[in-house]
C-alpha cells in the first residue's frame, strides 16, 4: 500500500541498523511513548538487532493500559444499566475491572457495542432516542479531536441522550514525570508520530531543553522507527538535545490547527490518574463546564465508585519502563491474554501483549519466576 510498503523495506532497515550500531560509542537508552511503536519494535525484533548499541525502554504509550481501574469500573457500572447502550473502541472490552470486564457485562445482557468512530456512537444515540448512549472516550491527543467532535456535534444537533465517559491523557506530562523520577534511565525519546500530527512538537521543545534529552518525532513503520533511533543516537553522540522530526510526511511543527482548536474548545486540562503510575497533575483532558450535559460522570452518579489496583500485577513498573514484561513473575503464568491481570496484557498495544504475541518471549516469564 502506498506510504506504507516503502517504509517496510528490509534493505533500508538493515542499512539503518548497521549505521546505528557503527555510530553508538556506548549503549544508549531510548524510550518510545506509543504502543503502536512498541508493537512494531517487538514484532520486528528491533531490540535484538540493535544489540549493545541501543536499549529500547517501552513507555506508558498505550491509553487503554493507563486508564485507571476506577474509570473501568465506572464504565462497567454504566454498561450494566438497562437504559444504557455503552459504546467503545474494541480494545477496551477485555480490560479487567475490579470484578469483570465489558465482555462479561454483555454476556449478562448489557448492551455493549464496539464502534469504529465516535461519530458512530452519536448516530446510535440519534437512532435510539429512548436509550442513553454513552461513549468511552479514551485516548491520547491523537484521538481527542475525534472525541471532541462527537461532543461538539451532539450540542450542535441537540442530541441529549448522548454522553461521554472521558479518560483522556496527554503525553508531555508523562514524559516529564518519567524524567523527574529519581530512578530515571531514559536518555532520549521517540515521540509519538500521530500525537504530534495533532499537537505538533512545540510543547516538546522546553522538555528537550530543560532535561537535555533528544526528542525525535517518529513514525510507525520499521524504517521510520529505525530512522528515529538513528537521529536520536546521532544527537546523543554529538551532545545535542533538540526536537527533530522524522515523520515529516505527516507532522508539522504546529500540528493540525483546526483539530487543536476544537480540542481547546471542548476540553480543558485536568489532573488525571494513570493506571499503575498514580496521579499526574494536569495530564488529562476533561470536558469543559459548558459541555457538562454530555459528561457521563456528571449525568450519572458515578462518584461513589472507587477501586484499588491488584498487587500482583506489575503494570506500573512496566508502564514506567522500570521492568520489561518478561521480568514480571506473573508474565505467561498467572497473566496471559486469555486471563489478564492488567491492561498491558490485554490491549494489542500493551507492552505485555506485544511480548506475548511474538512467541519467542513466551517461556521467559516462567524462567524469570522460577
Amino acid at each position: 500500500m502506498k506510504f506504507l510498503s516503502e517504509y517496510r523495506d528490509p534493505e533500508l532497515a538493515r542499512s539503518l541498523v548497521d549505521r546505528i550500531r557503527a555510530r553508538s560509542s556506548r549503549r544508549w537508552r531510548l524510550m518510545e511513548v506509543c504502543g503502536g511503536q512498541t508493537h512494531t519494535i517487538v514484532k520486528q525484533g528491533i531490540p535484538e538487532v540493535l544489540g549493545e548499541s541501543v536499549e529500547l525502554i517501552h513507555g506508558p504509550g498505550c491509553p487503554v493500559c493507563v486508564t485507571p481501574l476506577e474509570q473501568i469500573d465506572r464504565a462497567l457500572n454504566l454498561a450494566g444499566r438497562p437504559e444504557v447502550i455503552f459504546t467503545s473502541f474494541g480494545d477496551m472490552l477485555r480490560v479487567p475491572g475490579s470484578d469483570c470486564d465489558l465482555f462479561q457485562i454483555r454476556a449478562r445482557g448489557g448492551e455493549v457495542k464496539v464502534v469504529y468512530s465516535p461519530l458512530d456512537a452519536l448516530e446510535l444515540a440519534r437512532k435510539n432516542p429512548q436509550c442513553e448512549v454513552v461513549f468511552f472516550a479514551v485516548g491520547f491527543e491523537t484521538t481527542a479531536p475525534a472525541n471532541a467532535m462527537a461532543v461538539w456535534r451532539a450540542r450542535e444537533l441537540g442530541i441529549e441522550n448522548f454522553s461521554v465517559l472521558v479518560s483522556h491523557v496527554t503525553v508531555p506530562p508523562a514524559i516529564t514525570a518519567i524524567l523527574e523520577s529519581d530512578d530515571n534511565r531514559v536518555q532520549g525519546f521517540l515521540a509519538a508520530g500521530h500525537v504530534c500530527t495533532v499537537m505538533g512538537w512545540e510543547e516538546y521543545e522546553p522538555l528537550a531543553d530543560r532535561y537535555r534529552v533528544p526528542i525525535v518525532v517518529t513514525g510507525f513503520e520499521p524504517v521510520d522507527i529505525l530512522e528515529g533511533i538513528w537521529m536520536a543516537v546521532q544527537q546523543l553522540e554529538e551532545g545535542r538535545h533538540e526536537v527533530e522530526n522524522q515523520y515529516a510526511r505527516s507532522v508539522r511543527r504546529d500540528g493540525n490547527l483546526p483539530a487543536r482548536e476544537i480540542i481547546g474548545r471542548v476540553f480543558e486540562l485536568v489532573d488525571r490518574q494513570w493506571r499503575g503510575i498514580g496521579e499526574i497533575p494536569m495530564s488529562g483532558l476533561g470536558l469543559r463546564e459548558e459541555f457538562a450535559a454530555w459528561d457521563a460522570e456528571r449525568k450519572f452518579d458515578l462518584a461513589g465508585i472507587r477501586a484499588s489496583e491488584p498487587a500482583e500485577c506489575r503494570a506500573g513498573d512496566v508502564l514506567r519502563g522500570r521492568i520489561k514484561p518478561i521480568e514480571c513473575a506473573a508474565f505467561g503464568t498467572a497473566c496471559t491474554p486469555e486471563s489478564p491481570l492488567g491492561a498491558p496484557m490485554v490491549s494489542s498495544e500493551g507492552a505485555c501483549a506485544a511480548y506475548w504475541a511474538f512467541a519467542r518471549y513466551r517461556g521467559a516469564g516462567t524462567e524469570a519466576a522460577s
Binding site: S15, R19, Y116, S117, P118, A248, P258, S347
Partner: protein, 115 residues
C-alpha cells in the same frame, strides 16, 4: 490506539454541514470525517486516518524526499563500505557513516524541511 492508516480520498461531500468523504485503503473503502483537513483537501490526496477522522494529509513531496534520501544513503553506504574492505578499520567505517549522516542524511534533511 493511535493507529493511523494512510488512504486515498476518493469522494468528498458534506453531511449536515460536516465535511465527510470516502477513503480507499488499498481496496477497502470507509467513510471518513474530513473536518480537520477541510481547508486543503482534494480528491486524490492521501490522508492519515484515525478512528474515522483524517488527522493529516500525507505530504507526498516530503514522503518521497525522505524515502529517496534514505535510498541514496543506503547506496552511498554500500559504495563507501565496499571501498573500505581490506583497508578500513571500524573507526573509518564509523566516520564514513557519520560523514554521510552530516551531508544528505535523511535526519538532517527531514528535520530542516519539517521545521
Amino acid at each position: 490506539m493511535c493507529l493511523g492508516i494512510p488512504g486515498k480520498i476518493v469522494e468528498m461531500y458534506g453531511t449536515e454541514g460536516l465535511p465527510m468523504g470516502v477513503v480507499d485503503f488499498g481496496g477497502v473503502r470507509r467513510e471518513v470525517c474530513l473536518a480537520y483537513v477541510a481547508d486543503e483537501v482534494e480528491v486524490g490526496n492521501y490522508a492519515i486516518v484515525h478512528v474515522g477522522f483524517a488527522i493529516s494529509l500525507v505530504d507526498e513531496d516530503e514522503a518521497l524526499r525522505t524515502y529517496e534520501a534514505l535510498k541514496e544513503l543506503d547506496q552511498l553506504d554500500e559504495l563507501e563500505w565496499m571501498s573500505e574492505i581490506g583497508s578500513g578499520s571500524p573507526t573509518a567505517r564509523r566516520d564514513a557513516a557519520r560523514g554521510a549522516g552530516e551531508g544528505e542524511a535523511p535526519g538532517t534533511a527531514v528535520g530542516e524541511s519539517g521545521a
